[in-house]
Amino acid sequence: MNEHAQATGYNFAYLDEQTKRMIRRAILKGIAIPGYQVPFASREMPMPYGWGTGGVQVTAAILGPDDVLKVIDQGSDDTTNAVSIRKFFARTAGVATTTKTVEATVIQTRHRVPETALRSDQVLVYQVPIPEPLRYLEPRETETRKLHALGEYGLMHVKLYEDIARHGHVATTYAYPVEVAGRYVMDPSPVPKFDNPKIDDCEALQLFGAGREKRIYAVPPHTKVRSLDFEDHPFRVQTFKDPCALCAAEGVYLDEVVLDDRGGRMFVCSDTDYCEERREAGHRGHLAGDDPLSPVGRGRVAEGDRVREEHKSDSASPSPRPSPHRGEGEEALP
């Protein structure tokens, strides 16, 4: 136990060692059966259900004193819940924290996979709200467990087929179901389907924790993870027409930021660390100022205003007010 943990009056990383062992057993079982949802005795945590209690328990169970922790929510290290969880572990475990993907050994995430490829010495911990990919098709756990046991995924294929019949394409954009190691259909948590290809054959261990639903599952390194599709309707990810307005990155997931009440929009990297690294390396998007970190790095309202001012006076800028639709394009094969 280190000084930080002693000061809080709680065990290292909050959970008692017995509970951690129980969670580790569930994790090991999950790794042994990729994509299978292992029931575990989820504890009541000091943060609300639905706010990452599953991810927090997994992180607490695997965290060691030498780990470096990064926590992201929607791709960003600075969203309120990410800040809260990072502070929780800084306080109860005293571990080093970082916002840089490359420095982290454990990354807890909600709704995104980092853009930077992960390494074999890293673990990605997902917060999962509803672990059951079949839940909205069959509300009963007793039924869905049977369907998984039998490998009976007809319901899901019919759902995807009906989407195509009705809309001409699959109408699921996030939490897009995947098949893991040719066996279990798994919910990748509500990451945009853009991130699905990153889950496939990933070098890092990926762990999924659902606290309220009391399930843990895992994708071991280099596991085949296939997004469900049809031969004549292959899986496609979102693409964006324009690069990031701040760092000019292409082929990354972008957030749409409303600039004004007249339909002005800009598209910026959802992964804030990735965006900052690129700007530090000298990449400039069409709305980025001269200061490498001006809009996002310390970006409060004041800086935001300044960006707009600069942008207005910049005659070289291609379009003073981006049209509402300019950021998005067709879907492309991964």
Binding site: A41, D78, T79, H167, Y174, K193, K214, M266, R308
Partner: protein, 366 residues
């Protein structure tokens, strides 16, 4: 204007400082003490203990103070504390036959051994606001008399004499009682786990489910066999001693509902039971729990499972107010990544819709 979600850390700290400030209210009004809450908001304290699954009036009162009186927030604080407590053993089953009851009523017998004891109750009061209470003053002293030494057998045991009510299986020390806070809940769940879930469950939710059975959604024809409130002793057998030692007392509310059962091929017609138990004085909760417990036994008695209150997965998966509030309130967390994905989809579908509409118009023109 680009408002990045940076600097969240300082904003959170400030928000929490403001929360503390608001909790205190007008500083010219004296601050509430934990003892005042414990002594004068007893039913609220009891409810926090019941749904928080921890019998500790002082802690529940403190949680209520910290939570500004928000019940679920107080339950949350108590549960998050409880989860860190070491388990050193399981007490002996409590014996409510020996309860020193301050209230005991039965709705199925006019009089019975041990008598009907009204005790402190809101029943039969006229719900008129007592404006005199706004001014401080001591209430009249209640009448006193010697406590009856007469034992209070459970009403169900009177029916059992005639074999008119189902026999409860005797406790088997080889089968440990389940604990859903230590083991993941699996369906179908045993009655022990169902009762635990209901006891921890939200009073409002359990009440509404119990009510629904009375209105025909899983009708069970219930009678209140008995409600009793009072103190019972908790006993524990330390391994090194080998005999039971008392740990202390706690106040409990117990309700046993008696419901009709027409019988099956295996069992003769008889009455069946629904059971409710709450910490402190939780009569409404115990009654509602007993109704839902009986409704959930439908499969056991070969009854059709059609109503929500009979559906174990539905009831057990949704009765916990912490789980419910956490998941409902998580919707205020940012979802912009997923919403971006949906925006893109809806725009594309609208574009396709418009393109399709033009084709239709062309076809119509031709």
């Amino acid at each position: 204007m680009y408002v990045a979600v940076k600097g969240g850390e300082a904003a959170i700290d400030n928000a929490h400082a403001l929360l503390d400030h608001e909790r205190r209210g007008d500083p010219s009004v004296p601050e509430l003490s934990v003892a005042q809450i414990r002594e004068q908001m007893t039913l609220l304290v009891d409810r926090v203990m019941t749904e928080g699954s921890l019998y500790d009036p002082d802690l529940a009162a403190l949680a209520l103070k910290q939570a500004r009186g928000d019940l679920i927030e107080a339950v949350f604080l108590v549960r998050a504390f409880r989860t860190t407590l070491p388990r050193f053993g399981t007490s002996e089953p409590i014996d409510t036959d020996t309860m020193r009851a301050i209230r005991r009523v039965s709705a199925i017998y006019k009089d019975l051994p041990g008598g009907q004891v009204l005790g402190p109750t809101f029943d039969y009061t006229h719900r008129l606001i007592d404006f005199a209470l706004a001014a401080e003053g001591e209430p009249e002293r209640p009448a006193e008399s010697q406590a009856a030494s007469e034992v209070m057998p459970h009403v169900a045991s009177l029916l059992d004499g005639e074999r008119l009510i189902e026999r409860e299986p005797a406790a088997d020390p080889n089968i440990p009682v389940g604990d859903l806070t230590r083991e993941p809940l699996d369906f179908p769940a045993g009655r022990d786990l169902r009762l635990q879930a209901l006891a921890r469950g939200d009073e409002g939710f359990v009440l509404a489910l119990g009510y629904s059975t009375q209105r025909g959604f899983g009708r069970t024809h219930p009678f209140t066999g008995e409600i009793r409130i009072g103190d019972v002793e908790i006993e524990f057998v330390p391994e090194e001693l080998g005999f039971a030692v008392p740990l202390g007392e706690m106040t409990l509310t117990e309700c046993e509902m008696v419901t009709q059962f027409t019988g099956s091929a295996a069992q003769p017609p008889q009455f069946t039971r629904g059971y409710g138990l709450a910490f402190g004085r939780g009569e409404r909760k115990a009654m509602a729990m007993a109704l839902v417990d009986r409704a959930l036994r439908a499969r056991e008695f070969g009854e059709e499972v059609a109503a929500p209150a009979q559906d174990e997965e539905f009831v057990l998966s949704h009765c916990d107010n912490l789980q419910a509030t956490g998941f409902v309130e998580h919707l205020k967390l940012p979802h912009y990544v997923d919403f971006q994905a949906e925006l893109e989809l809806v725009r594309r579908m609208r574009a396709e819709h418009e393109a399709g509409g033009q084709t239709d118009a062309l076809e119509a023109a031709e």
